[in-house]
């Protein structure tokens, strides 16, 4: 079973992102970039399936600029076998990314595609679902458990009311939630070894698809800030303030 894992280079989750001074976009100058955390979980799941003998090959792919090679190498160090960079000019939107990934799926023919449920930059939560739709494949989003059972996958999903388990026939698209697994750290020998693994580059402009943006960002601003509150010295004072000042309890 071949597994394809689309990953994204994003701002590290520890960075507090701010708007540029002209409010035209976010300021990404000199900030630390990482593999999107949900994509790390996706890579980890694929690698575990390989380690348990259920998968023969794990291929990671990203749509992005040359700098994304760094994140592809990081995924190779986590255990992926091979990487593909679909090189694009500028940042594409989920719709266009899903179109590019459709082309990659058509040439790679994976049995399973695992993505993150959301990229923590745009918080869009769309790409996996769009990809599944374009390929007319079933999907299992927000996965917290994944079991391969012959030619289908049994997936437990984190939904607002609790958990839902579904069975999707393969090939299928799965998107990861936080509880699916805890990704490993890459060891130094694996980081060294990853440098020798295959990383092929394709140009998005050669794929013959329309990847033009459908939306434009007019401005990016800070959210309204909350006014500084007060510190109370005791539980009694807290209760008094909640009753008489804030009037939120009786």
């Amino acid at each position: 079973m071949k597994i394809l894992v689309p990953i994204k280079r994003v701002v590290d989750y520890n960075v507090k992102v701010r708007p540029l001074s002209d409010n035209s976009n976010v300021d990404l100058n000199n900030v630390k970039m990482s593999v999107n955390p949900f994509c790390e979980i996706a890579v980890e799941e694929a690698v575990r399936l390989k380690e348990s003998g259920q998968s023969s090959e794990v291929v990671v792919v990203t749509v992005g600029g040359d700098e994304s090679q760094e994140q592809l190498r990081a995924c190779l160090a986590l255990g992926a076998d091979r990487a593909i960079l679909a090189q694009s000019e500028g940042l594409l939107e989920p719709l266009a990314i899903a179109k590019v990934l459709t082309k990659i799926v058509e040439s790679e023919n994976p049995n399973l595609i695992i993505l993150g449920k959301q990229a923590i930059d745009g918080d869009n939560n769309q790409t996996g679902q769009m990809l599944a739709s374009m390929l007319d494949m079933p999907q299992a989003t927000f996965a917290s458990e994944l079991k391969i059972e012959g030619d289908s996958a049994l997936v437990t999903r984190e939904i607002d009311g609790g958990l839902q388990t579904i069975n999707v026939s393969l090939p299928a698209v799965v998107t990861t939630d936080l509880r699916l697994n805890e990704p490993r750290y890459a060891s130094l020998p694996n980081i060294m070894q990853a440098k020798k693994k295959e990383l092929s580059i394709q140009n998005v402009s050669d794929l013959g698809i329309d990847v033009s943006n459908r939306t434009s960002i007019l401005s990016v601003e800070l959210p309204p800030t909350r006014e500084a509150g007060v510190m109370v010295d005791s539980v009694d004072e807290l209760v008094e303030k909640l009753k008489n000042e804030a009037k939120v309890i009786t």
């Binding site: 701002v11 989750y13 507090k16 992102v17 701010r18 708007p19 976010v26 989920p94 719709l95 449920k117 923590i120 930059d121 918080d123 939560n125 769309q126 679902q129 769009m130 599944a132 739709s133 999907q139 989003t141 927000f142 917290s144 049994l154 999903r157 984190e158 939904i159 607002d160 009311g161 609790g162 958990l163 839902q164 388990t165 579904i166 999707v168 026939s169 299928a172 939630d177 936080l178 509880r179 459908r214 939306t215 434009s216 007019l218 990016v220 601003e221 800070l222 959210p223 909350r226 500084a228 509150g229 510190m231 539980v235 807290l238 209760v239 303030k241 909640l242 804030a246 939120v248 309890i249």
Partner: protein
Amino acid sequence: MSILVVAEHDNSEVKGSTLNTVTAASEIGGDVSILVAGSESSSVAEQAAKISGISSVIHVDDPIYKNFLAEDLGNLVVSVADGFNYILAPATTFGKNFLPRVAAKLDVQQISDIISIEDADTFKRPIYAGSCIATVKSTDSVKVITVRTTAFDASPVVDSSVNVDVGAVVDSLNNSKFVSDEIAESDRPELTAADVIVSGGRALGSSENFKIIEALADKLGAAVGASRAAVDAGYVPNDYQVGQTGKIVAPSLYIAIGISGAIQHLAGMKDSKVIVAINKDEDAPIFQVADYGLVGDLFEAVPELTDSV
């Protein structure tokens, strides 16, 4: 303008998220239709017909829609999409699951999680865990949008009803099957609808200890929430998680207990009206958003608080 809202429900009742989404649709302005797809769901269609601001209901009832599987629901929405300028669903796990499938089929870039409508094609939405708010303009002729429910009031339910039209079922691809549900049963209010929320974090240390959070919540008639750390550690189920990648809440009162206030947690609760933080570390970032902060050991403060409210 013609707007379609896809209703979230449980086959017996309309969920509150649908009422918020109708308000967003009404703000766009125009004829608002609502699609109720479900199984044995006629009571939902009847209720939907009474939501203020809508002009018609499309009801499609079939066992294949019972569990709202994304493949079938997505194809159904695509089949009724013709003629609508906007297609809206709540930004809950229900809406997030199927709506991007619709957008892809219509060749539209979905706008996720809008918090305001600036004009017919311009919307505001949080990005980077709510660190920034982007104003986004769409050039697509049909706008496919998920709506952050806390950003829009619930549309009232009125006495008079509009027409309910029966829509056609779309054949299932049968490539996805529902197996089972583990839906939490609770007497407490639902997290996203609660007026008061008491949330606990990693500091609770165990599910046993988490009971002091539940005791306070029950005294206040509140819902119970949690940080990711508390969920990951197994103290509480996944559906308690508040934050960037969990639930977005905005109650009148949010009490954060033993939660440090990571940006991913704040993303889910900082629009609450009044925030209270109890933490033993006076430098915890949660105090920067709290209206009332109490520095102290939660294992002393919380039982005392429960006794005095």
